[in-house]
């Protein structure tokens, strides 16, 4: 046999192709942003759009929040395995099942195959977090769930369109099991997004022809792989270990789940091994494999150059060992809705492991996510209402070498990709009356670079029959965002309900609170991020600026930073500061 000669690479055409693929996934995303109705999709942007090749490998992807960085490829591969050659032009396939490649029950994927003539050449796909997905609790976050059926309707790969024809029976079956009408509209919007993607990809096919397109795609993967390999080869070889904990399994008070991670770097290869992490929990604090892989990938992307294209090439040099049965890869039929929220602890373990190899790239701990989904009756319109309160949950990020943490950025899963709600629109949408939404003073972990600031939110709840579902982490002292290299931890999360009768209730990090009466005052503090480096090395004028701006108290400036500031005039006492910083009491 003659050896095949690899065709000459063409960096120009590959560059252009990458730009064009990106354009298509962005157009798909724009369609979703504009056409979906749930605020989780159009405000919080909890969705991802992408193109995949005939084998289900990622060609290009635009994730609007990082935790979806790896949310589609495993599902796409599963769809291919299931349907085999029974895939036809005009088919549309739905999928959410976490035990066949899904990452979270509420994240429903729509796949549309793209054909060239009669040959399957690619997929347009998008996945978005739906406002409801059936199960026992509206909205899907059910801390009382013990198995998947109490959480959600399972949708393994299902055709909702077959050869261009809507399967009304299947469609009705699915939506008969979902509470909110908007989910149906939002799935339609996702199908629209896939149609936009299909159109774009077909134009590309027409321009280049299938053979050339395939060759260029191969080169694109190679080029991306090369970039990632180069990044990895810059990390000294070795095995690095990091540990962290998730707190409270929602069943037994005081529980702690351990993440045990060993990262091995060998040349241009990196292996992430989670062996030895805690076994799966009886409640919903479990992750499917896809969710853990996404958490890993998003953290890894923060450690390398930010402009590497997102395609399958990026995955080639990465190996993941994540044995089944741990809470990071739970066995069927575990409840797993909390899985994405384990991203915080997972990234903590990754940053800790890399702190030895890449000390200038890792960040200190990010404030862990604590959410509170409310649903109830809105007396103004005599209608039900739901809200996930993105406004109140965004704490600060961890500081890194040469940069303070980012204030009010929110969970690392989203890394500033979700927007806090606008105050006025919040009051128009919900029967809530805002009292406060401001940076939380003294929340940021002290450091040479300080953590990002947390935020305090307070509002009066004026809905009836309100149920709140707390889901998250970060309420224990130990669960605060950790400091690095001498930096201090950020502050805790807390949700406090003050009932009209004068009683107060502090929410656990995972629980359902029912029957919240009208007039209850909701207060939430989202904590700050961890600091990086010795706070005594932070320039005194930066500390002074934070004090003048009311973000650090005079006391904290003195105790944490060794900076002496007159509490009345807010003038810096440089001499005393120097003494304090030299340890002279």
């Amino acid at each position: 046999m003659k050896p095949r000669v690899k065709p000459r690479t063409d960096p120009i055409q590959v560059s252009v192709l990458q730009r064009r693929l990106k354009s298509i996934t962005e157009e798909m995303g724009l369609t979703l942003l504009r056409t979906t109705r749930s605020p989780i999709l159009n405000e919080a942007r909890d969705f991802v759009t992408g193109l995949y090749d005939a084998r289900g490998r990622m060609l290009e992807q635009t994730e609007y929040i990082p935790v979806l960085a790896f949310a589609l490829q495993p599902a796409c591969e599963n769809v291919l395995r299931f349907f085999g050659d029974d895939i036809h032009p005009g088919d549309v396939i739905l999928h959410n099942d976490v035990f066949s490649g899904g990452n979270q029950n509420n994240d429903v994927a729509v796949f549309k195959p793209i054909f060239h003539g009669r040959k399957l050449v690619a997929w347009a796909a998008c996945k978005g977090h739906q406002a409801d997905i059936g199960g026992a609790v509206r909205g899907g976050y059910n801390p009382e769930a013990r198995e998947v059926w109490q959480e959600a309707l399972r949708i393994p790969a299902v055709k909702i369109y077959e050869r261009g024809k809507l399967r009304r029976d299947v469609w009705n079956l699915i939506f008969a099991n979902i509470r909110l009408k908007i989910v149906e509209e939002d799935i339609k919007a996702q199908i629209g997004g896939c149609t936009v993607g299909e159109r774009g990809y077909k134009a590309l096919l027409a321009r280049l022809g299938p053979t050339k397109l395939e060759r260029l795609l191969g080169e694109l993967f190679d080029s991306t792989e090369k970039m990632v390999r180069k990044e990895i080869s810059g990390i000294p070889d070795g095995t690095y270990r990091g540990e962290s904990y998730a707190f409270y399994d929602g069943v037994t008070d005081g529980t702690k789940m351990k993440i045990k991670l060993a990262v091995s770097v060998r040349g241009e290869q990196v292996t992430f091994d989670f062996s030895g992490s805690s076994p799966q929990t009886p409640g919903f604090v479990n992750a499917p494999q896809s969710a853990t892989a996404s958490a890993l990938l998003l953290t890894f992307l923060m450690l390398i150059k930010p402009d590497i294209p997102h395609n399958a090439g990026i995955l080639r040099p990465i190996r993941i060992v994540n044995p089944e049965g741990s809470f990071l890869n739970a066995r069927f039929p575990a409840a797993t809705t909390f899985g994405n929220s384990i991203t915080g602890p997972t990234s903590d373990a990754i940053f800790r492991a890399f702190s030895q190899a890449l000390p200038k790239m890792v960040t200190a701990g990010w404030n862990r996510f604590l959410g509170f989904a409310v649903s109830g009756h809105d007396p103004r319109h005599d209608a039900p209402y739901v809200d996930i309160l993105f406004l109140s949950l965004k704490g600060g990020s961890g500081a890194t070498w040469m940069a303070d943490g980012y204030d009010h950025i929110g969970l690392i899963n989203c890394a500033g990709g979700i927007l806090a709600q606008d105050y006025e629109m919040f009051e128009i949408h919900d029967p809530h009356f805002l009292v406060k939404h401001e940076y939380l003073p003294d929340s940021a972990g002290a450091g040479r670079w300080r953590g990002g600031l947390g935020v305090e939110t307070e509002f009066v709840m004026r809905g009836d029959n309100v149920t709140g579902v707390a889901f998250g982490d970060g309420v224990e002292e130990e669960a605060r965002a950790f400091g690095f290299f001498g930096g201090k931890p950020g502050s805790r999360n807390a949700i406090t309900l003050s009932y009209p009768d004068g009683t107060r209730r502090q929410a656990k990090s995972k629980e359902i609170i029912r029957g919240i009466p009208r007039g209850t005052v909701y207060n939430q503090v989202a904590g700050g991020g961890g600091g990086y480096g010795d706070p005594f090395e932070r320039p005194a004028d930066l500390v002074l600026a934070d004090v003048r701006n009311g973000l650090i108290g005079v006391e904290a400036a003195r105790a944490d930073y060794g900076v002496c500031i007159d509490p009345h005039t807010l003038v810096l006492d440089a001499a005393r500061t120097m003494e304090l910083r030299r340890g002279i009491p």
Partner: protein
């Protein structure tokens, strides 16, 4: 004789277009003077006088109108030199400005810094007061809070105060009460009140806009005072009008009150320039692009109406005032080529700018740029750049591309240069897709007006990427925006938020309030135009509404035709609803007409136009089709279709005009513009002297 002058202050050059009674009289470029831009303005006017061989005083007396586009406000924001500003806001919400709703634009970059807030936290002071979403006053203003805030402002030497309270879009009386107290004690401060600047729902966007307005208010006022003083000293008696971001102009007094209206005004005259340029061809739908040294601006005009956006940003801060929807990317002659770690080629967004400039400028630039590639490919002449004022060093361009691009990619230097040319063309085509395809328009239905010094070299190739068959290079390509400024109308925009279900009929209970709000805007608009000396018959008021399906977050702006709103007592809501469905379908590929989903009203808008006299366009006399008289010579240039060099004829563009036609491949050079006519294109000149490139059927560059 009566002159009109359009003046466009840019980063490098200040452009001038002088029009006399019979049309275009002269074009001039003056180096900008950023420290005090009025110096270049006056120097340019003096140069124009000289060009007319007139004494300066006499010339100035003969000027009837000056339309002036300025970037003083934009530069102040970008360089952090805004006025010292304080913010008074509702207690409990003083951080909304700095929070920017918690967005980090670069999700994976943990060193990505937020922009510094225009008002630091210690100058963002709270007042106890509260209006609810319905506009009811829940808590009256605590005057003592305003007093103590003003004490602080005085102590801190504040020049401008922004006032933004929660739900002031629904009821501005608490804000007004605060403004009165502030004005009493700080009579010299520039006071920017959200319910006056932008009475529109969404607190962060309104706060940010109000603060930007405060921050640049004193700067623009100072600049305009300075400029009017200089003009007065020169005995100028004509009218001075200022270019605004909404594509219209306004009198200095009005602009000074709403200074933020100039923040995105840089390229805002392009659509008007495009309309003038296309008038001979009776075409009112087109895309304009302007490619300069560092940036590329693209805008779409449909049926004479430029696209307008209310979600602009300046230095990553929201600016919600209506502005021309112009997509700017970092692509220009100075864009730098670079190779990533995976071996792929990129162009920009970094630019070598004017200093050190492209390698071929010979001013110490070593990075290979778009201009270097254009020179190597033969599209630019080394001895005729800027009409020969800048001599280009072809050796330096080649060395730079060879060492930094060709060698690492193992390509020959010409293929590398052509790769650079191709990649930047694709980038620019993507920027055009964002304003066309992504808004539901097919770019193939829009001719491409291609302006700017570097634009016409790339025009045909960009057009080919998008399937556009017709490219127009305007006569005033190099001073495109200045040429548009003389063709704009006075324009003021008004908004009132009213979040309600859209009324089913004109009998619905909401009609009364809507009528009231529309009438208030009409009265305000008419008095503003009257103050600018616009007679009633020249006033045009256009109503539009921001609508959405119940539960959607993004609204769609719907222009309400006069016939749907003939009288405010009988608004045709059915027609408005139908227009909304139609527009939603075009924008997003679906509508919910059949499902009967309720439609929500969010904002009522009114645009007030004062129609101005437009100077006549100079029409050229038709000459014979032959172009031989303009042939300057031949030079080798790269032909992408053949992959090699060929000797192409080079024509002197200044000697070509109406009636001249030539077939590509060819190059047409004039002092500030080079046009590349690829093979398969026919170039011809219209009656206004615009050069039009038409692709022959089935042919693409």
């Amino acid at each position: 004789m009566a002159f009109k002058i359009g003046i466009d202050v840019g980063g490098t050059f200040t452009d001038f277009l002088l029009m006399g009674p019979t049309g275009r009289t002269a074009v001039h470029k003056e180096l900008s003077t950023p420290a005090d831009p009025s110096i270049a303005v006056m120097a340019g006017v003096a140069a124009l006088a000289q060009g007319q061989t007139m004494a300066f005083d006499r010339f100035v007396r003969d000027i009837e109108i000056i339309v002036h586009g300025t970037t003083v406000t934009t530069n102040a924001v970008l360089t952090g030199t805004t006025a010292r500003t304080g913010l008074l806001t509702t207690r409990g919400f003083r951080d909304a400005l700095q929070m920017r709703r918690g967005v980090r634009e670069q999700m994976y970059d943990n060193r990505y810094h937020p922009p510094a807030p225009i008002v630091p936290r210690h100058l963002r002071l709270p007042a106890t007061e509260r209006v609810d979403a319905e506009g009811a006053i829940v808590m009256p203003l605590a005057a003592a809070d305003v007093e103590s805030a003003v004490d602080r402002f005085i102590a801190e030497g504040i020049e401008a105060v922004a006032i933004c309270f929660l739900h002031a879009h629904a009821n501005g009386s608490n804000e007004q009460a605060a403004a009165r107290l502030v004005r009493e004690r700080l009579p010299r401060a520039y006071v920017s009140v959200s319910s006056e600047v932008l009475p529109q729902v969404r607190f962060y966007e309104r706060t940010s806009t109000t603060v930007l307005n405060a921050g640049v208010g004193p700067i623009l006022s100072r600049y305009l005072r300075n400029l009017t003083q200089k003009l007065e000293q020169a005995h100028y008696r004509g009218t001075l009008l200022i270019m605004q971001s909404n594509g219209g102009v306004a009198a200095p007094a009005s602009v000074a009150r709403l200074a933020a209206m100039t923040l995105l005004s840089g390229p805002a005259a392009a659509p008007a320039a495009g309309l003038a340029c296309m008038s001979a061809q009776r075409q009112t739908s087109f895309i304009t692009v302007d490619m300069g040294g560092t940036s590329f601006d693209a805008a779409l005009v449909r049926k004479g109406q430029p696209a307008i956006t209310t979600s602009g940003t300046v230095n990553r801060y929201a600016l919600a005032l209506p502005s021309m929807e112009i997509n700017t990317i970092g692509a220009g002659g100075g864009s730098i080529a670079w190779i990533d770690d995976g071996g792929l080629l990129h162009m920009g967004p970094q630019s070598a700018a004017a200093d050190p400039g492209p390698a071929c400028y010979g001013r110490g630039g070593v990075e290979p740029t778009c201009t270097d590639a254009n020179l190597l490919l033969g599209y630019l002449a080394a001895d005729y750049f800027a009409g020969g004022r800048i001599r280009l060093d072809a050796g330096a361009a080649e060395r730079s591309i060879r060492e930094r691009i060709a060698r690492p990619l193992r390509m020959d230097v010409v293929a590398a240069a052509h790769g650079m040319f191709h990649v930047i063309n694709v980038n620019m085509a993507s920027a055009i897709r964002e304003i066309s395809v992504q808004k539901g328009y097919d770019p193939r239905e829009f001719p491409l007006i291609c302006a700017g010094g570097a634009g016409p070299i790339h025009g045909a190739c960009i057009a080919a990427e998008l399937g556009i068959a017709r490219i127009v290079v305007p006569r005033e390509s190099s001073i495109f925006c200045a040429s548009g400024m003389l063709r704009t109308d006075l324009k003021h925009d008004y908004v009132r938020s009213y979040a309600r279900a859209l009324p089913q009929s004109h009998a619905g209970p909401e009609n009364g309030r809507i009528r009231l709000l529309l009438r208030a805007m009409q009265a305000e608009a008419r008095s503003a135009l009257k103050a600018e000396g616009i007679a009633a018959e020249r006033q045009r008021l256009h109503i539009s509404m921001d609508l959405r399906y119940l539960g959607q977050y993004h609204e769609v702006g719907v222009h309400v035709p006069d016939k749907a709103i003939a009288t405010l007592d009988r608004i045709d809501w059915k027609a408005i609803r139908a227009l909304f469905h139609q527009q939603h379908d075009r924008l997003y590929g679906y509508c919910l007409r059949e499902e009967d989903t309720p439609v929500e009203l969010l904002n009522l808008r009114l645009s007030a136009i004062g129609v101005t006299d437009k100077p006549a366009l100079k029409r050229q006399r038709r000459s014979s089709a032959g172009c031989a008289h303009a042939l300057k010579g031949r030079r080798p240039a790269y032909r992408p279709d053949r992959g090699g060099f060929r000797n192409l004829p080079v024509y002197d563009g200044d000697r070509l005009g109406h009636g001249n036609r030539l077939a590509g491949p060819a190059i047409i050079e004039s002092v500030n513009t080079t046009i590349v006519v690829p093979a398969g294109y026919l170039a011809g000149y219209d009656v206004l002297g615009n050069c039009i490139l038409n692709a022959r059927r089935g042919h693409r560059a």
